[in-house]
């Protein structure tokens, strides 16, 4: 694991960015090749939120590639957090909320790993995580804020936050440390071969995350022509020069949802909730064997989710466009 200062010096940040290949170039590759861009010990930020627009195809590839010691950050962590712990890819998740989803109860897998001190769940408030990415995106070392004061959430992160007296108003203000992840994984509805990405619907923290990270891996439902991007430039949310890999991965969030295209695969998620709470060790292990290590390809993984489930999720997903 990298022993880096909490906040990168400005010189280090600029140097890292300067040495990236930011030119306009095609960067389409396979999930497997994109996985090689993530190194053991990296801080990896995960786009989307809970069961929404989670870059599961890329996470699937990282787990299959048996990465180690990743530090994971995400706004809210769902089943992918369980699988990071259970697969041994990560023992450290930074997030504000960690469990499959409120309707499925508290994650037994998260409980097993944290209560037995096998892994660390580092808890920050939701907004604070967002503001940490935002400071990273803006190239500033900290962001002023007004939460996490007085609470044990604030006390527990200790001197990773600073409290100062505002020089303008004299009030107490929190300074949150900038977060510049090594890699951000983001799934989008469409982008071009250069990585100009258009996201529909809920954006979550993805834009700030992309701007903050030192490397961005985009998975996308479809790769469109650069011409198509240039026809609606005010719908582009992530510019190509932040992006290092573009992977076309249809249904790349399944069994989670992708706005406007498919809703969560609820029955599959019920199934996962059931087996993982029955046995928080063997349950996810069996799940990983069946759905992560077993399939020979991403389409094969989708086939295991089932055609009927996929069509049902798509029908529900497209319904936002019916209004």
């Amino acid at each position: 694991m990298s022993i880096e200062p909490l906040v990168k010096s400005y010189s280090a940040l600029r140097h890292e960015t300067l040495t990236r290949d930011r030119g306009l170039r095609e960067k389409v590759m396979t999930l497997e090749d994109a996985a090689k861009l993530v190194h053991d010990g990296n801080h990896v930020a995960i786009g989307g939120c809970t069961v929404s627009r989670t870059p599961l195809a890329m996470i699937w590839a990282l787990i299959r590639a048996r990465k180690r010691d990743l530090v994971i950050s995400r706004s809210i962590t769902s089943t992918e957090g369980d699988l990071f712990f259970a697969s041994g890819v990560s023992q450290h998740v930074i997030t504000s909320w960690f469990t499959q989803g409120i309707v499925w109860g508290v994650s037994k897998v998260m409980r097993h790993h944290t209560e037995n001190k096998l892994a660390k769940f580092e808890e920050w408030s939701h907004m604070s995580i967002g503001l940490r990415y935002r400071a990273g995106a803006m190239g500033i070392p900290f962001m002023p804020s007004r939460t996490m004061l007085g609470s044990d959430v604030g006390k527990r992160v200790g001197d990773e936050i600073k409290v100062m007296d505002c020089p303008f108003t004299g009030e107490k203000i929190v300074l949150l440390p900038a977060l510049n992840p090594d890699v951000a994984l983001i799934h989008v509805q469409r982008c071009d071969a250069y990585g100009n990405a258009q996201l529909d619907g809920l954006q979550f923290m993805d834009i700030d995350m992309a701007m903050a990270a030192n490397k961005v891996i985009l998975t996308t439902e479809r790769i469109v022509s650069n011409d198509q991007i240039r026809r609606t430039p005010d719908r582009t949310r992530i510019p190509f020069f932040t992006v290092d890999a573009v992977v076309e991965a249809p249904f790349g969030c399944a069994p989670h949802e992708c706005y406007g295209l498919y809703e969560p695969f609820f029955e599959h998620l019920d199934h996962y909730a059931k087996i993982s709470s029955q046995d928080p060790v063997k349950g996810p292990q069996r799940y990983l064997d069946e759905f992560y290590y077993g399939p020979k390809s991403w389409p094969d993984y989708l086939a295991k989710l089932g055609m009927e489930a996929l069509l049902d999720a798509s029908r529900r997903g497209r319904s936002v466009h019916n209004d």
């Binding site: 069961v51 408030s125 907004m127 604070s128 503001l131 007004r146 609470s151 619907g201 954006q203």
Partner: protein
Amino acid sequence: MTRHTKPASNFTTSELLAVMASRLMTNGQIVFAGIGVPLLAATLAQRLFAPQLTILFEGGTIGPFIVPGELPPSTNEQRCTRRSNMVLPITDVLLLLQRGYVDIGFMGGAQIDRFGNLNSSFIGDAENPKIRLPGTGGGNDISSLTNMIVAMKHEKRRFVADVDFVTSPGWLKGGRSRANCGLPQGGLWRVVTDLAIMGFDEDTRQMKVLGLHHGVTREQVQENTGFTLEFDDKIETTAPPRDEELAVLRELDPKALYTA
């Protein structure tokens, strides 16, 4: 642990919570709602008497209308955006609280103490917990920045003198302690349970019973609370859920996903 005896009724505990909480809403308010009972309560108010009430979701939605039978599994799915006025990034919707545009934050709670501090992080000692709970989510932000309503079941193990861990600050140690910590705005306004409605003393910031639900006694409330409650001078008795209210709830959540 003493369990209370609920009076015979034609509604579930969650339905009771949703109805009682909905009545605390005012037309025209901007309500930052969590999933489950808070969402149901706010939507119920919107349908019955507060058509201009606006719901915000932490996932980044302003003013959605929930489609009956299609309740979202969290505040972050596309179901939360149906017929909404605006979607925006998570950080920005939370910043609306900090900027001051929101009237009420509204969430559920796992554990609460006499000063309205909420715990959704750890049961037991944080370094050696009996149960690791899911954590704050937006709870810490919402409760740090705006006036709060909390809806939860009234049980002795949930209503404790001091929470094991302050995830979401209420009035902290009472008195002026919240403002002194750098949280001059907001604070816990109402706690709605299946037994009573509670507020907080203006000076001491201790929890205080303001109203009892139909058929519930003071003793029952105290028995199910892990600290000594104060009672307001004029305790009111709330009207039981009306058929009209229950009908809307059951239309919204026909499979009793959140109202079982």
